[in-house]
């Protein structure tokens, strides 16, 4: 019965916060209910939070006609997987090196990493470099390399700061006395005790790859390499592209009339955010911690 005594300011806080929660969730809800609506009914009544006619038509269509979508989904998974693993390795190795104070030249390297956060050449020189010199256009590398998703100076400094504050120097020293080599120290001692920061940075890189559409927009014209985000991006502006790519041929385009164009788009967007919604509650604390580490300095 003690709990009946409600704290007034906490009550106000709850009410206002629930408003913010609604502000955040309602648009997402509209996306989901739209994908679960009957296509013809949406034509007549528009997207709504409570469809007049519910339907799984969009998802059924996607399951049977969705090779293109699954291909794009596969490419998103592949680039996210490869990119996150390699990005995390590269970031952790550089960050660790920078945390070793006795290393000659450490300050210069540190500055070179930090400077990438302050100044960049801009879109045009970068574009020309990747297209004309490195020839990544229409290759899978176009999705993996440009735009600092792989290695980001911010992440490197985040890892460095963590190693600096949380790795006991004596541990490294005693391992050296025992004759362990640098590589062994890093992989068998440092990595296992640094799981929190590796989870945070891995999550940041992973979300970066999963959400990236910019690289595909700039460097892909071959739609076969489109990630899910690129595919979504394209069909929002170009409904014809969707019907063609899904139907696959002209005669199949006859079936076009049957295609639930308005709701399928929403269904694809829903399966695009599903992985994030599923994993995020478990990683939320890592993410918040990574975001609030303030001590990122040159």
């Amino acid at each position: 019965m003690k709990r009946m005594k409600v704290n007034k300011s906490a009550l106000v806080a709850h009410i206002v916060l629930i408003c913010f929660v609604l502000f955040c969730t309602l648009p997402t809800l509209l996306l989901v209910t739209s994908s679960l609506s009957d296509n013809d009914s949406v034509f007549r009544n528009g997207y709504s939070f409570w469809p007049k006619e519910w339907s799984l038509g969009a998802y059924r269509y996607m399951a049977t006609q969705g090779q293109t979508i699954f291909r794009a989904y596969g490419i998103s998974i592949l680039t996210t997987f490869i990119g996150t693993i390699s990005g995390l390795m590269l970031t952790a190795m550089l960050g660790y090196t920078l945390s070793r104070n006795e290393l000659p030249g450490r300050k210069i390297i540190n500055f070179l990493v930090f400077f990438t956060l302050l100044f960049n050449g801009g879109m045009v020189p970068t574009y020309l470099l990747y297209v004309n010199t490195l020839h990544v256009k229409n290759t899978i590398f176009a999705l993996l390399l440009p735009n600092n998703i792989l290695v980001n100076g911010f992440n490197v400094l985040l890892v460095r700061t963590y190693f600096n504050n949380n790795t006991p120097k004596e541990l490294i020293e005693s391992a050296m006395v025992d004759g362990a080599k640098e590589f062994r120290i890093f992989f068998s001692i440092i990595m296992p005790i640094s799981k929190p920061i590796l989870a945070t940075v891995g999550l940041l890189i992973g979300i970066g790859y999963w959400n990236d559409w910019y690289n595909g927009l700039l460097y892909l014209t071959n739609t076969k390499l489109f990630s899910l985000q690129n595919y979504l991006n394209r069909i929002l502006l170009d409904i014809q592209f969707m019907t063609q790519s899904m139907a696959g041929s002209a005669e199949a385009a006859n079936a076009l009339g049957k295609m639930p164009t308005i709701t399928v788009r929403m269904a694809i967007a829903v399966i695009g955010i599903l992985p994030l919604m599923m994993i995020f509650p478990f990683f939320q604390s890592y993410f918040a911690r990574g975001m609030t580490v303030g001590a990122v300095k040159g």
Partner: protein
């Protein structure tokens, strides 16, 4: 000298570990810097960046003679100012409200939900916006305006609405992130201040006004100055995807970043695009230097360098 060499040799494995990431940063971030000269060239694809003829400042002259230079600069800065004000206000408000929540479970739900939009890609967000604003099937036209007997609005063709729409969308995406950062600072405030204030009979609002806000001041200043340092840059996705690249609303949605992209990819004018890019990089960098100077004056331990 010999001793130093020996030390470097012993630490060689560390340099090898650092190398892959450094090579990447060199290629991705440093090689393009030399390519910035393209802004001063009369670019010709067949001759490449370095082989093309020099154009001096001609690209820049064209850029600034055009009224578009003023529009993109104005839009970039004004939107950023609006975003900074809204984000700071809501971020602090939500952080203080979160600190009043005692139930661990509720707290976790609130924190997770308000941060979720931050994880959505801007492409997904443009779908959410489309579900509301689509002329034919959007919720606002079909679900609100039509039932009320009002005439529908062609949102993607009316530039006057976007100075309202874009701040709402940006707030939706990023206030949770701001709140997360401020919250971490609010809960680190020593509880004894509040206990003492309560003994003196201070109301909740007075406590917020005279304790929380006062102690948050350094963080608030730092966060604002960090955002000011980026005032010459805009979120390309927000202004390109969410507006569906609609030409009719460029007057209120074109920013430096969208202009650079459109001029490069859609118009194919490499010189002009590069000139706008160099303008952004250089002025943006100067702004970073100035804000850092300010930071160093106000709170030296928070300055970037």
């Amino acid at each position: 000298m010999y001793k130093r060499l020996k030390k470097i040799k012993k630490l060689l494995p560390l340099y090898i570990m650092a190398l892959p990431a450094l090579v990447y940063l060199f290629i991705n971030n440093y090689l393009p810097l030399t390519g910035m000269v393209v802004a001063f060239k009369d670019f010709d694809y067949s001759k490449g960046i370095y082989g093309s003829d020099w154009a001096g400042f001609r690209n820049f002259l064209f850029l600034f003679k055009n009224s578009v230079a003023f529009i993109i600069t104005r839009n970039t800065i004004l939107y950023n100012v609006a975003f900074i004000i809204i984000n700071t206000f809501l971020g602090i408000l939500v952080a203080i409200l979160l600190s009043e929540v005692t139930s661990k479970k509720a707290l976790k739900v609130y924190q997770t939900v308000i941060l979720l939009p931050y994880l959505f890609s801007i492409v997904i967000i443009s779908y959410l916006v489309f579900a509301f604003l689509s002329t034919d099937v959007g919720f606002i036209n079909k679900g609100i305006l039509e039932p009320l007997g009002k005439s529908t609005i062609s949102w993607y063709n009316e530039s006057k609405y976007w100075p309202i729409i874009l701040p709402i969308v940006n707030t939706w995406k990023s206030f949770g992130f701001q709140a997360t950062i401020y919250y971490a600072n609010v809960i680190s405030i020593d509880k004894s201040y509040y206990e003492a204030a309560q003994l003196d009979g201070a109301s909740k609002l007075q406590q917020v006004r005279y304790i929380t806000l006062v102690l948050l001041k350094p963080v608030i200043i730092m966060m604002i100055l960090l955002a000011v340092g980026k005032i010459f840059y805009s979120d390309f996705g927000l202004f390109y995807q969410v507006t569906q690249n609609s030409g009719a609303i460029y007057s209120t949605t074109n920013t430096i970043d969208t202009y650079v992209y459109r001029t490069l990819i859609q118009t194919g004018d490499v010189g002009m695009s590069a000139a706008a890019g160099v303008y952004q990089s250089v002025v943006g960098f100067l702004i970073v230097l100035i804000t850092n100077l300010l930071l160093r004056k106000i709170s030296p331990e928070d300055s970037l360098f």
